[in-house]
Amino acid sequence: MLVRLMLRNTVRRPVRLALTIGGLAMVVLAFGLLRLTLDEWHSGAKAAANNRLITVHAMSDSLQLPLAYRERIALIPGVQLVHYGNVFGVEYRDAKESFGAFAEHMGTFFETYPEILLNEGDRLAFLKDRGGCIIGWKLAARFGWKVGDVIPLKGTTHPGNWELVVRGIFHSSNPAIMGEGELYVHWQFANERLKSTAPDRVDQVGWYVATTAPGMNPRNVVEAIDATFANSFAETRTEREQAYIAGWVARSGALLEALDWLSGVMNGIAALVLVNALAMAVRERTREYGVMKTLGFQPRHLVTLVLGESLLVALGGAVAGLGLLYPAARLYAVMVAGGKTVGTYEITAETIWLCLGAMVLVGALAALWPAVRLSRMTTLEGLRHRG
């Protein structure tokens, strides 16, 4: 009985209902977009592997470490494998068309990053060709590159013109941690060229990635690596991959906080829209509620009616907003990338639950004031009310 009344009340004014749901949907859409942006930032840290440790120069991520550290890290108990790499700054055609590129030690690369999915033939061809490169499928799609193509690039960190043969196009089993829009070359090849173009930068490494042996406590290894190089001319800062990525995300803390805060404001707006609609409905129906009271309906029945209607509308808004979220997120991702590699912006179950949960809360809060007013109202007041 109550449920039927609730439903009838909800759809009594179809135009207003549509407007309210539309308004709420917009808010949910905006809220969802912000949550997706925040998720995108935090996804890297969440997906990080637990057994990889990153070692960089203690003073700055942009300073280089000597290649000679490799042997010393490898001797530390608990370290299974030591990998190293560098940024390989390049530009294709002009600065606007740049992308992430890295020079990695290929002897350890695939073992360190099992996330990379590349077919065996391409992998062997790449390992054999020191002047070759592999690219993520997103990068390949962006410029229409195929296996066997020669890519002419201009070096920024590694001066000179580079002509690299695409030996393989890879996918990633975990795009949050290993992107699919980057290019990888042999560190040895890049280093060789530096001998003639920038001799003072030869045999230097941007970062070491140490894989810890199973069963070892990574924390002890972290401390052991940094202790090895303490008081040397290039001290190191070692962190677990997860902490390293989280550290970078935290550097944008102020911006993330602003977004977080903004997504809170959105729920405020949603509540306003809903309160407004409910207040109107309740005011119009005050006389009816008076009549219902004379018929024996208790205040709690009336409160249930209002609360139910509020929740129904809020959920309607949430569903409509989530429906719009998918295409909007695609568009947003493309626009933020601005012609560069597009992020994933994947809508997870968590996002959906968060949106639904927020709207249920908003629905309950919005019903509060009208419900309180209704339960305080005497039958006589209700009957006297002139709409």
Binding site: R16, M59, S60, L63, E91, P159, A254, L272, M335
Partner: protein
């Protein structure tokens, strides 16, 4: 006049609904203006970094100072070019610098931050006349004294005046705080170039900034130097170089702002429509009475449109007033294009006040259109016959 009083009174008579709608509109305008302010603040900070009469020289191909390296010999020849200003003490207005980023731990929250450090020489103040020391003094050449930008002093407690920074296994005393008119330099630490090169085992400079005779000579100067095969440099106008260094951040702010504004404005228009529809429905009898008294359909339309425009106007003013509270608030975050910490603020301009209010009025106008038209089309007899809708 009469109509505006009527519309105002109507808004007042239904003040709870009016207030809720106003708050909704106000919040939308607040978000809209706040994002405009932030985008403008960032542009202003980057665009003001450096002087339009200055040229910055980087090694060919390098996109940033971090990637660039210029040898001592090279910079000597480059500084001796005509067009470069000679100062009163017969020194050439050319400053050779190295740029570095240092990882520091922010004390308040323990997170890591990268600080831009610039090894420079006193001639930098002649090349960039807008940079002034506001407290303390400049560093003594040949020592490990440093001066810090006003934003650095604010963000990092260990970088206050007379404190000591520790990096490169040496101690650096802060002897002065400088201000650069809210530009990106305010987020940097400056010190002696030779000391820093020794500390960081560098033999080459990162960049050289030259002050040219006037802003017009730069294109010719650039063409001459870039074409000369001896130099292998790229030449950029100083502010243009820095402006390009925050594109990622600027794009995120602008696109997010655009999306939120579009999405929100649709929501707000729906909200305004809802309020105005209810207002019309509520006053059906009243409209009938007015029509009987001789007011035309046009009058009714006008009255309701005016009401919704007033609603928009008030919401707009509310939102702009809220956003104005953010003016001059600065946020400090990492600039992804350089990896270094950058402080920039919300900055309100008179144009934005106008845009915010106009935007709100527009939302009110669109929102009120359908309900007002419906009110105007009501049939007198029907309107009078209806009790409450």
């Amino acid at each position: 006049m009469l109509w505006s009083v009527y519309s105002l009174r109507n808004l007042w008579a239904r003040r709870v609904t009016t207030l809720l709608t106003l708050s909704g509109l106000g919040l939308v305008v607040f978000v809209f203006v706040a994002i405009l302010m932030l985008a403008h603040g960032l542009e202003r900070t980057m665009g003001r970094t450096g002087d339009p009469a200055n040229a910055i020289l980087l090694s060919k191909g390098a996109l940033s100072e971090i990637e660039s390296s210029l040898s001592r010999d090279q910079t000597g020849v480059l500084a001796a070019q005509p067009d470069v200003v000679t100062l009163e003490d017969h020194q050439v207005a050319a400053v050779r610098e190295i740029a570095l980023q240092l990882t520091l731990r922010k004390q308040d929250r323990g997170s890591l931050a990268s600080l831009s450090v610039r090894g420079s020489s006193p001639v930098a103040f002649a090349v960039r006349p807008r940079v002034r020391i506001v407290r303390g003094r400049a560093w003594q050449p040949g020592t490990t004294e440093v001066i810090v930008g006003s934003q650095v002093a604010r963000q990092f407690p260990e970088a206050r005046l007379a404190e000591t920074l520790r990096f490169g296994r040496r101690e650096w005393t802060v002897v002065g705080i400088f201000e650069a008119e809210g530009s990106g330099f305010d987020s940097e630490v400056w010190g002696d170039v030779d000391q820093m090169m020794t500390t960081f085992h560098r033999t080459a400079f990162s960049s050289m900034t030259l002050r040219l005779a006037d802003t017009e000579v730069l294109p010719a100067f650039k063409a001459r130097l870039e074409r000369d095969p001896r130099f292998k440099v790229s030449v950029k106008r100083e502010p243009e170089y820095y402006e390009g260094k925050a594109e990622g951040l600027a794009r995120l702010i602008r696109v997010t702002g655009l999306f939120l504004t579009v999405v929100f404005s649709v929501g707000a228009i729906l909200g305004a429509t809802m309020t105005m529809s209810a207002s019309v429905a509520h006053r059906t009898t009243e409209i009938g009475t007015l029509r009987t008294l001789g007011f035309t359909r046009g009058h009714i339309l006008q009255a309701f449109m005016l009401e919704s425009i007033l609603l928009g106007l008030a919401g707009g003013l509310l939102g702009v007033a809220g956003a104005a509270l953010l003016n001059r608030v600065t946020i400090s975050t990492v600039n992804w294009d350089t990896g270094a910490e950058l402080a920039f603020g919300f900055h309100l301009t008179p144009g934005m006040v106008g845009e915010g209010v106009l935007f709100a009025v527009f939302m009110g106008l669109i929102g009120g259109l359908v309900p007002a038209a419906r009110a105007a089309r009501l049939d007198i007899v029907q309107a009078l016959g209806e009790r409450t809708a």
